[in-house]
Symmetry: C2
């Protein structure tokens, strides 16, 4: 198992370090893994003048999986857009064909208080959002800014989905639903946008191959409401790139502890990029204050989805649960009566619990 490790910017390096320590426990026990480090985002711009340089492309293309910290920081905000850290993220997704973004929004019982929603509304929350990641208005052509024939300046993008793009993400979503509560909600704006009317048609067609899954459809505006009104009605949600960007962030904030949430972005052959759902938190970078759990759980997802090692994945997840149950908390999830620890101490505890 060949793993590309991209620490990235901000708190990226420190959280990645803890995830590697946890993986190292398995490595020492005999699980074969090789790690190759490469830069992405601002870190890559500093070294190579590009947020996804050739060196990193090569390392990632040759790897079986990619483990990423986070990218971005205020010092890069004045760069030309094509050179900014997040463009590195978009480029690696497209380059590796990572079309299926899995973003779980799970409430850890110990952290129920962290949510701004009432406990009875979010207790037991466990939603899996499947977001298409390499299509839609993110990548559609034509795009840009121009002066039109009337001499008026305008900005424009193209929202677009092809049948194979929708089919493959629908299959991923149905397959995930089969392993969960067998409920899938496809989110669209089919009453207004042909792109998503088309999306809906294809999803309905793919559904025929999964008769056990209960498929529903919801408009994106209603989905944004329902996530707040009654989030536990959802099991798996599937949607396009831009709606998925918005809804997955909304859903993760329902838990109140985004420092706990992992994500996976998969291609057609199980290769995946694994990263925490949170950002690079430049304000606390380098201070050993960050919460490494989302990254550690991302490593668990890597073992599950790219290496089919359910046992190792579960073992990491159980170690995290044990440490939470024992009362250890980084600053972002700290509350009175619990034990406040640093990023590396949280790593210590999880390694010990393994």
């Amino acid at each position: 198992m060949n793993i590309a490790v991209l620490p990235g910017d901000g708190i990226g390096p420190e959280i990645i370090k803890q995830a590697l320590r946890v993986l190292d426990v398995l490595h020492k026990e005999g699980l074969e893994m090789t790690f190759t480090e490469a830069p992405l985002g601002g870190q890559a711009y500093d070294q190579f003048g590009h947020p996804y340089p050739e060196f990193t492309q090569k390392v990632c293309r040759e790897a079986d999986a990619v483990l990423l910290g986070a990218v971005g920081g205020p010092q890069y905000d004045t760069l030309d857009r094509p050179l900014r850290p997040e463009r590195g993220l978009l480029a690696i997704r497209k380059d590796l064909g990572l079309f299926a973004n899995l973003r779980p929004a799970v409430l850890f019982p110990e952290l129920a208080n962290a949510s701004t929603l009432k406990p009875e509304v979010v207790a037991g929350l466990d939603i899996m959002i499947v977001r298409e990641l390499t299509g839609d208005v993110y990548f559609g052509q034509p795009r840009g800014m121009r002066t039109n024939e009337q001499g008026v300046r305008e900005g424009f993008n193209t929202m677009i989905y092809s049948e194979p793009e929708v089919r493959r993400i629908a299959h991923v979503a149905f397959q995930i639903a089969m392993k969960r509560q067998k409920k899938l909600c496809s989110v669209d704006k089919a009453n207004v946008l042909e792109t998503t009317e088309f999306w809906k048609e294809i999803v309905i067609d793919v559904a025929k191959e999964y008769p056990e899954v209960e498929l529903s459809h919801m408009y994106v505006d209603n989905a944004a409401m329902q996530l707040i009104r009654n989030p536990k009605q959802f099991d798996v949600m599937v949607t396009g790139n831009i709606f998925g960007d918005i809804l997955s962030d909304e859903a993760s904030m329902l838990t109140g502890s985004i420092g706990m949430l992992a994500s996976a972005s998969l291609n057609e052959s199980k290769k995946g990029l694994y990263e925490p759902s949170h950002g690079s938190a430049p304000d606390i970078a380098g201070k050993n204050l960050a919460n490494p759990i989302a990254t550690i759980l991302s490593a668990a997802m890597m073992l599950r989805y790219s290496f089919d090692n359910e046992a190792a994945a579960t073992r990491i997840e159980n170690a995290v649960k044990k440490v939470l149950a024992a009362g250890y908390r980084t600053g972002d999830i700290y509350e009175e009566g619990t034990k406040r620890v640093s990023c590396s101490e949280m790593g210590d505890q999880i390694v010990a619990a393994m």
Copy 2:
């Protein structure tokens, strides 16, 4: 003052009836108003075979303001898309040039419990979302479904904003901010979409004319999170049509009582369409159970924005507050210890409180 009244579908007619009773109080006291009824949505399809028929176009074009109930119902879900009720809504917006959609998300102190968010997070919530309503991917050309040169089927739309479109909505938003807490947050996805990068540039330019307003920018995914994490950080938000559709629904659900929320859609000469933020609720239609308050508050917005009659608007709003304080509640906002009333009884109470 010439008012076009469009009862629409579902609970539309019954909630409009109560709003008209409230306006009639002012009429009897001498406020000049004439009302012309016309159908929209499913009701219009039934009568004229089109959701925005010529008759309604004529009535609305000649009116100074339009008061709408709601459109839509399951019996129209199998119609060809261009004939469905919501297309009537899109058509009237475009036809009348109603580019500025104002959607307040206000928590009434008496209804604080209705929110799924913790009271301390939403107490005192008062956000105004300014949504551009006649541009963006909703109306952009080209759009449709096609088989491309590779023989692959695809659905596509065009996200697009021109400089004048962004300028005029930005002015509306800054002017509203000037009358409130002077804080404006412009929501975009400028890190990915040129359309919204362009949007952001123009907003920054318009800001020069409003030096007193504190302007901030937020990515749409972060905005969807921040609305849940700490909604009270917002005063006025301005964004495009599709992001506004999603965020305004999300924001209104924070209050837990969407039956209370009004909206206005204005053109360049103060003509406006006023409607409740909620839908046509076919399940309770005709049962005298609906909450007429959002429609009554929409009538108040009409007096304020289209007829510059702040006194009359405030009088209606105060009557609503009084009735809430006295404990009257329709079913959607009922809780133990309050007095449950029907739609028409709620109308009675508000008329009496006027």
